[in-house]
Amino acid sequence: MPVTARPRQRRSARGTRSPGVFPWAVVVVTAAGAAAAVALAPHNARAWVAGTVIVAWVCVVVVAGTASARLGRALRRAESRGEELETTKAHWMRHGAETDQLVTTTLPAVVRQVKSGTGPGEALSGLPTPSDPYLRRLLHVFATEMAESARETAEARSELERTRAEMGQWTAQLDHVTKETLPAAVTLLREGSSAETVLAKLDWPAHPLLRGPGESFVRELAYSERRSAAAQAASAKALSRVQAKIVSMLAELRDLQERHGAEVFGDLLRLDHATSQLGLMTDRLALLMGGRSSRVWNKPIVMESILRGAVGRIAAYRRVRLHNSSKGAIAGFAAEGVMHLLAELMDNAANFSPPIDEVHVYVEERSAGLVVTIEDSGLKMSDAAMRRAEESVSGRTTDLASLQGTRLGLGVVGRLAAKYGISVNYRPSSRGGTGVVVLLPPQLVAQQREPVTVEPPRPSAELPRPAAVAPAAEAVPAAGPGPVVPAGPRAVVPAEVMARTDDPRADDPRADDPRVRSAATPNGLPVRAPGRTMAEAERTRPKAAPERTGREPGAAGPARDAGSRFGAFHRGRQSGSAAVDGASGGVPGGPEAVPGTDE
């Protein structure tokens, strides 16, 4: 506005000077012209010209005077308008400056002060107030609103801070519960603690929103743990009864096989096989349920019997070919486990190979232990299947949850392998199928001594016997009751083996005497080792020694069938005839004659 006002002001300033002069200049110029006209006029017309010129000049003067007066008035009006304009301009400029100040200085200052906590009245008092009432009101409204919103902001902020702190606390508690309390609770519950114990033992967050889920979690988990433990225990218990029944059935079947002749023998064998398979299945379930094997052997079992015991439990036992020349034996405590493990692996091999192909089992004796290799010629296992099988036989995961469907056998293998430290490895077989290499570590292997019956006693071998009695007798205290009252089946073997290898006459069956003699009390009463029949203990008494022959083990056990009866009769006759030195050189009686002379 001030900018637009300037050109008009300049024009008006120029106009005020020239219009006042111009009329009077015209008057002067016309007066000069009139005088010239009068002077130049002919003398006789001079008076007329002079009158006309004066009249005309007066007219011009009148016109000029009127024009000058009008011009002066117009000028004066224009001047007053200009002043008015100036005033308005000044007012606007002041107003603009105030607005400018308000926007650039006052409002930021108000904002600053209000934000720093000053009240709106206080903030305004220290600042220049704009003269314009609208601006003043605007400023007031602004300050009040600003103060209000600043207060609200502060409130919201403090609320936020509080919420955030609370949040942090919760997060920490939740973190603690998730990372420490719950795992600890799970561990305790798995160990069999009750839900109440666990809840009391661990520190739970006080807040009900966190505590509630934690408690219900623990209770639910405890319930399900209890249920699974109860189910396992009940299964194991029930299975142990079935196992006992199966063992007694097997014993009875064996009894029947001895008692009955050829006409039912085949049927009995089939029944026997079916029962053995049933035993394998029951044992498998029992082991998975945390139970035990159905049998416990109290003496080392030779490898041949181990393999046969294992093969006999599987359905396709005729397809398994055993290649065993090992004389090694498995310690009694592990024998059943090893048999079960091998049976499962053979069952697997037989099931996953064509029904016309054979499964070959090889036994090697290595310094690392006994190596049993089971090879089938079935389909090659895929890498994934082999990895899965490796995983399940490794025994790393013994959780029931890792079992899949009906494939329980390998899980049992894994458990047994982990229990006895047996390593089981799968590899592709050179026969096209899959091979399993089972390494039985040396602590499971008990070197079986050569059976006494292998070498029938000969008269010449008997000759140094009187000399042998003395060291044998003095070996009694040394050997002590060790072999007789063993701590466990495992302890028997080394003692026996030592007694055997220490004796230079290891070939001589009479060298058995230290053990024989120690099997009786000083008063001559028989001492029965756990698991041995009374008949056996009776036989090993010193009194019975003369009766012992190379074939003595044949007399053990109840003689039920015709053969054993005959054998017992035969022996009785032999000893009777020996008493009267009646050994007539009858072929079977030959060796027995010597003990008779010995007496």
Partner: protein, 118 residues
């Protein structure tokens, strides 16, 4: 937990000893004498080894059965295998057909009475 009974037998089942067979060679009599023809070799079934050891001197089938603690049928099957392999030979009792040559029952009874009266 009750203590489990300890097994004292062997884990072998008879069908494993016979390889699943139950039909025996009936030509072998209870008193047939068996003689081994060779020494046992490594890798043989343990029953075969024992029979070969036992029958170095002629031994009756029934005695083999008693010593091995195996039923007669099983021993017959095992011996059948060994005979087939030529590792043992069987001698049938000479007097099997000469039952008529035995003394009269009455005479034997008299002898028995006489013995009792001694």
């Amino acid at each position: 937990m009750t203590r489990k009974p300890v097994d004292i037998g062997v884990p072998d089942r008879l069908y494993m000893v016979t390889g699943g067979r139950s039909e025996a060679d009936n030509s072998l009599d209870l008193v047939t004498l068996i003689v081994s023809e060779c020494e046992p070799t490594a890798g043989m079934q343990s029953e075969h080894t024992r029979i070969l050891d036992l029958c170095r001197h002629p031994t009756a089938l029934v005695e083999v059965s008693a010593e091995l603690k195996l039923p007669i049928t099983v021993v017959r099957i095992l011996l059948g295998d060994l005979i087939d392999m030529g590792k043992v030979s069987a001698r049938h009792p000479r007097a099997a057909g000469s039952v008529a040559a035995l003394p009269e029952t009455a005479l034997l009874q008299e002898v028995l009475h006489g013995l009792r009266n001694l």
